[in-house]
Amino acid sequence: MIKNSAVEMAKALSSNEISSVELTQAHLDQISKVDTDVHAFLHVDSEGALAQARDVDARRKAGEKLAPLAGVPLALKDVLVQKGIPTTCGSKMLEGWRPPYDSTVVSRLKDNGIIILGKTNMDEFAMGSSTENSAYGPTHNPWDLARIPGGSGGGSSAALAAFEAPLAIGTDTGGSIRQPAAVTGTVGVKPTYGGVSRYGLVAFSSSLDQAGPCARTVLDAAYLHEAIGGYDRMDSTSINAPIPPVVEAAKNGNVKGMTIGVIKELQGDGYQPGVLKLFNQSLELLASLGAEIVEVSCKYFDYALAAYYLIAPSECSSNLARFDAMRYGIRVGEGSAEEVMSATRQQGFGREVKRRIILGTYALSSGYYDAYYGSAQKVRTLISRDFEAAFAKADVLVSPTAPTTAFKIGEKANDPIAMYLNDIATIPTNLAGIGGMSIPSGLAEEDGLPAGFQIMAPAMKDDRMYQVGSALEAALLSKWGKPILDNAPSLGAR
């Protein structure tokens, strides 16, 4: 049962083939079996998960009408607060902290009867593309334990690929849902900015951060999207409009007559040949399903990475000022408030977080503000204009999700620029605030590792990504004859 989709599990629950307690226990057993190797979880809440499952079972037995995913387990990225459950953001700064309230995402999961198994590993404060920046050690890719599972949400993607959970929540500031999905053979969606509430999401870069669904199928992601999405009065940047009809779109999965734009700038140099080959094969499949493929040019995308690495560190240097050793988190040293603050932040933050805070402090400092942060904000406008022009010619835009398959743990740890290049294809959507989805495109011929196909849609047209994603997913499944994860090695055999 743990290898089934969430929708299949929900069906088995509603027809009383299995109870939520049994289903939850099966996933807890899998976590016990494989997580020593994978290290997807920072905290497993067995008791809380089973209590929640008993409650859902009782309500079902009493004849209550339950939400579609009621009783199905989920893994939660450790950047979203859950009342009473340790939340670290992968940082020593928050070691031992238990939040006094639920984030809106968590409240909605609970309202939907979705069982929260525990908190997943991540790059510290979501800064990274490999999960190597977690203060609690890296997560290992279930496809090859010596490789990274992507980041920052590598714990969530690895949990899905290792069948520790059928659903997960991620957050995406520059690709942290989509790139992990790509390198683990799973599905990840960054909704339109404002589509899912940020209340209770520990802020990294507020104008870019967006929580979203992670799953093993497009339809599963769509159901989770509908469960967590929608307007929230607690987030002033939440969009006050109905959730796009993503479940309907995922069920429809017809691309006949749609125009799909291939972004010229997001391929070629720097992309692994096997990744590009899979991308092109997916395009051919979409064309054979009746979609029209056109090429579009977004010439300012070449500047997106540079703009991102000014905007995100600038916002992070401001946001992370809240970790001041006064109200929550660790406190180190003695003396004046300033001395305690400086000693605590020195000890509590890791290398990448410090690097970005210092870079952001520089970019925002007087005399440099216009040249760096101001210029980056202008590039953001140019990128949004590029998208507008491209969407005038195409219903959705596509690219490889990440330029390469999963690299080895440690391989890029000492080269920040090489690490940042992982996000070259995912960052433009964050800058423009539009939606992006990654689905598996196959296994690259060089290394047999999964690659991702990215689909982007205009703001609040998230349903288009699900429509194209499910069409491609179905076509690939019939081509392969089995789900991509059936090719992954089995874990915990030792």
Binding site: P100, Y101, S236, A306, G329, Q346, K354, Y362, A376, L382
Partner: protein, 99 residues
């Protein structure tokens, strides 16, 4: 070529309230120079006629109704505090003796 000195980083670290080690100051000054060279290209296209975008949504002044709603109790709000006293956050001395 950007040239960020060790002392420049020390000043930034002071502003950011991080007590960086000598090793980190030296290392970061080199890294920061490289990163700044890479990101400075935004200036090539940021001409005066392009308006800046600070945020992807065209929102302004989002107001809410001013009404009493349930919120954290004092003990909940203080539950994560490193130190507390009389229902307040207890913090180290902020002002000097002469202030």
């Amino acid at each position: 070529m950007s040239n960020i000195s060790r002392d420049d980083v020390a000043n930034l670290a002071k502003l950011a309230r991080i007590d960086l080690s000598e090793d980190e100051l030296n290392h970061l000054s080199k890294e920061l120079s490289v990163i700044l060279d890479a990101v400075a290209r935004v200036q090539e296209v940021a001409s005066a006629d392009v308006p800046p975008t600070s945020h992807p949504l065209p929102l302004q002044n989002v107001f809410r109704v001013d009404e009493v709603r349930p919120s954290l109790t004092p003990s909940e709000a203080l539950s994560g505090a490193p130190a507390q006293e009389e229902q307040r956050f207890k913090v180290p001395q902020i002002l000097g003796e002469e202030q």
